[in-house]
Subunit: 315 residues, 4 copies
């Protein structure tokens, strides 16, 4: 954060898909990029003012929500998502020079990556034993350090490209060729991002316990105002079984009247609802807005109620 | 409306239940009370400024909504209900002196009254023919004028009490001893009546045709804000079969946040929604308000949304 | 009901719109047609087995539900609607020969007809006094009997056409040129009418009092199964203010799985729900059926549940 | 599965919380207990008939749903949950004899356990480095094998108790003293378990994509029949972002009429809905059943509909 150069933290180490997501941000290539060992640390540095924003994974098309991120932004000092990025997920198998696929006995990578290459592994190296790694990049880099107990690693192409000592034995080994991970850039609260017409709003809504049917009430706040949801994840609050919060992405921007009205409804039902930001959709897909949920419809309705409360005819 | 004396129109003639309802209004006994031959006329004089308010029946516990009133206040220049009154409905059978029950061949009264005395008639004067009358009072008064084609009339006790020439042959001949009619006092739009905590709000909501499920959407505007409904009547708009408006009484006052918010929702769904007033309930029964639909909950929610839109933390 | 000739009662007298509706029924022209002075009598004769069916009005595009009919079929011994008929409503002004429009001082007709000719009356005979009549036909026929207190009557064209002594002074005097009345043919319970694919089902659902939101629950029984409603009328039960039943027409036939399922749901919520019949729509408009509410979807769902309950795999 | 001795697989190795859950099953202490290295293998052996049932974790009060289990039972050959077990989760820190807390540089355990002891670690061994382990037990057992790169492990008390070579340095080091994990015993489809009145039913419902509001429709299938939900988890289908299935636990047994009816509704909306079993609740808490959702109410409703379809009066 020295001078005018921005500082970004990200879930490291270097060479992960997260850094690839960060490099999509205009100017990030020339900014300070600080890899962190976990999501919490990346976010904490932003909270403490040591970084301007953090890039962290939030959702994977194969593995689902990234729970560490969902939980970290749902609690603690409030943060704001200001941007999203989508990164196609492809995997390569790497080893030290001279090692062939048939030589492989033990493979290391992050558990999520291992899960996503299961079919390829079963077919090509069925007897390989899995060695848990703290990240895909760490597993790969470990090979260069010599004293690890495994012969190969599964990692992102970026890692291998940056390290000449690693030999790529197989490419595109992920089970799902369309796999994609969604990342979010998280900052401290500040002025809302500009409304583009193709926006998302993220909220965290604890499920009130004292009212049966509360989840339907929560969903109804969106439905009744024509606000579509693109993601909904349940997460335990950690207090006891069956106590949840919901992490929700809704189409639209907080400055859209229908979204602002839905937010007010959520706050009434669940006062600890947390707003996590409105930001441009990576796919730039405009929201469909029914006439009766347009800004104009809300403005007209509120003008009408004001007239009534003022004792004027409503028409 | 001359000087400081108020002028009230009412559905006449004198001696009907409607005048009894009007006499419940403080000061009405000393005001100008102008009987009108039909509901439309009574209301039109208010619209034209010739009267301050009109007392008209709106709902009967036996016969249902008074359609003439429901339709008359749903269209034309906007009006406001400022008070309601409940009048127990009891009927007497009257005739000229000397006429006995066994002499009765033809009985006149208003169609609604005839319907409400069916059991007594079947048991006591089963062969009597029904002669339609324009009102219960008109039927009774007609007996004093001599040239009518009937021997007896069914009317309100008040009419008989005021006319010595009428002889009461039977009292309390209504089939339903708990029958009650609800009347409303209707004025031109002006300052809202004071909120008492035990209020009703009346609206007219045309059913939008272009959206299936619109009736559920309308009801949901109340339900989602915890606003209870005490009356809902469907009425045809007169344009074609299946085209309705709904006349609705909701618990609460337009200056209650939950009611104001519901009104705004109704206006969005059905922009021709008409507000017909908020007024004290005759039974003085307070509305139950759930914490998340209280004025405080709405104020807190709107403050939170304002903070978010202003770029501040929401907490 | 003697021999093979059917007997139909109808809301008389002869010449009313109701008889026109009855004549739409195949064979009715050659059947016994018995006019009754009121809806209750027409229905009671069917209940007693003295007639095969009764034709009665149920809904008018201008005046709304015919409350006498709605109430009469909602209580008492169960009946079934087996057919519906639509009759355009047009009015004529009749008088004795020699009487001109400018001579008219008093006009008689049924109250509903008077209400539907208000605009024409205001413009053409603004000073005419209204004399209530028990039916439009009775008012017209009265003119031929000589000792009535009025000069003219408003009635259906059919009445005038059948009575040479009546002179038509004006035609098509109704305010709403598209006015139509819907009639239903009512019989005793028996085998369901055949399903045509363009059917209606009529039910009467008392609103349970012990559960707030019961009306939405009732509507949801239809909505959740994709059953559209073409008519919904609230009627007081007569017990006290605010106690209603709803008279509902739904698209579809009781032997459609989605309708049968909705009926079961209604019975659970309001056990006194009354089924009033399934019958072909007069307009022959087919219902739209979403795939997940088709008979096939219900059959598949029930087979699946049976498999589960039998301990078999569900797939 | 040899002879009459049952064979159970479980997520191993021995000494994990999963084995503790298995030992709650009557007779399991004397059965063949086969530890498996992952949930998929444990379930696959049941599918292949090599084991009678598998005990696997499904939900943790701190970490949330166990995604490996949720995904494994949602796809592939159908299975049935026949029992649930709750196990309090407590952790101990173990090392080889002679090692003191102040000596610890590197700690191994499963990622979930590491996450649940974060506070204790930060306070007591803030500089310890984390070494990912494939299970808590494997991390502990590794200490006895000599050539591992870490000094201590976090594991369940059961592991330490069974291995004299491990020294317990600290007990109850979990951040959340009330932490509990829920396990399920999974078998092949067969006769439904007996209804106890305190049952749960688990289903997997893919979210139909072609209908907005489908999630509310799904939830409404339960709500409209008074069936309470105790768990709802969204999981990606893995096809693309935003494509989900929901894993749901509902109160009640498939042979409860309200649950069977809800299941049929789910199947209509989402034909690929998968039934995963009805089984007794571990907490033996009876479900509240409103009168209109009782078996009697359903039986009465279906009898009524059958009468109607048979042409009989409904009353």
């Amino acid at each position: 954060m020295s001078g005018s150069v921005l500082t970004y933290t990200f879930l490291g180490p270097e060479g992960t898909f997260t850094e690839a997501a960060l490099l999509q941000v205009p100017g990030a290539a020339d900014a300070n990029r600080v890899p962190c060992t976990n999501v919490n640390t990346a976010l904490e540095r932003v909270r403490q003012g040591e970084a301007d924003a953090a890039m962290v994974p939030i959702e994977n098309s194969v593995e689902g929500g990234v729970t560490a991120t969902l939980d970290a932004i749902a609690t603690g000092t409030e943060l704001r998502i200001i941007r999203e990025a989508l990164v196609p997920i492809t995997f390569v198998l790497v080893a030290r020079p001279g090692v062939k696929i048939s030589d492989i006995r033990r493979v290391s990578t992050h558990g999520h990556a291992w899960a996503q290459c299961r079919l390829w592994v079963d077919e090509n190296i069925p007897n390989a034993e899995y060695v848990p790694g703290s990240s895909t990049a760490a597993a790969a880099v470990g090979l260069l350090e010599g004293d690890v107990h495994y012969d190969a690693a599964i990692c992102a192409p970026l890692v291998a490209a940056e390290r000449p000592g690693l030999n790529i034995l197989a490419e595109n080994i992920g089970d799902n060729p369309g796999a994609v991970t969604r990342f979010v850039l998280v900052s401290r609260p500040g002025a809302l991002t500009e409304r583009t017409g193709a926006d998302k709003t993220t909220v965290v809504v604890p499920l009130p316990e004292d009212r049966p049917g509360a989840l339907m009430e929560i969903l109804d706040q969106f439905a009744t105002r024509g606000v579509n949801l693109s993601r909904i994840e349940s997460r335990p609050t950690g207090q006891y079984l069956g106590h949840y919060f919901f992490s929700i992405d809704a189409d639209g921007h907080a400055s859209d009247a229908r979204v602002a009205d839905a937010l007010a409804g959520l706050h009434r039902i669940s006062p600890a609802t947390r707003f996590l930001g409105s930001y441009a959709r990576a796919d730039e897909q405009k929201a469909f807005v029914a006439p009766h949920t347009s800004d104009a419809a809300f403005a007209s309705a509120h003008a009408w109620v004001r007239a009534i409360l003022g004792g004027e005819p409503g028409a």
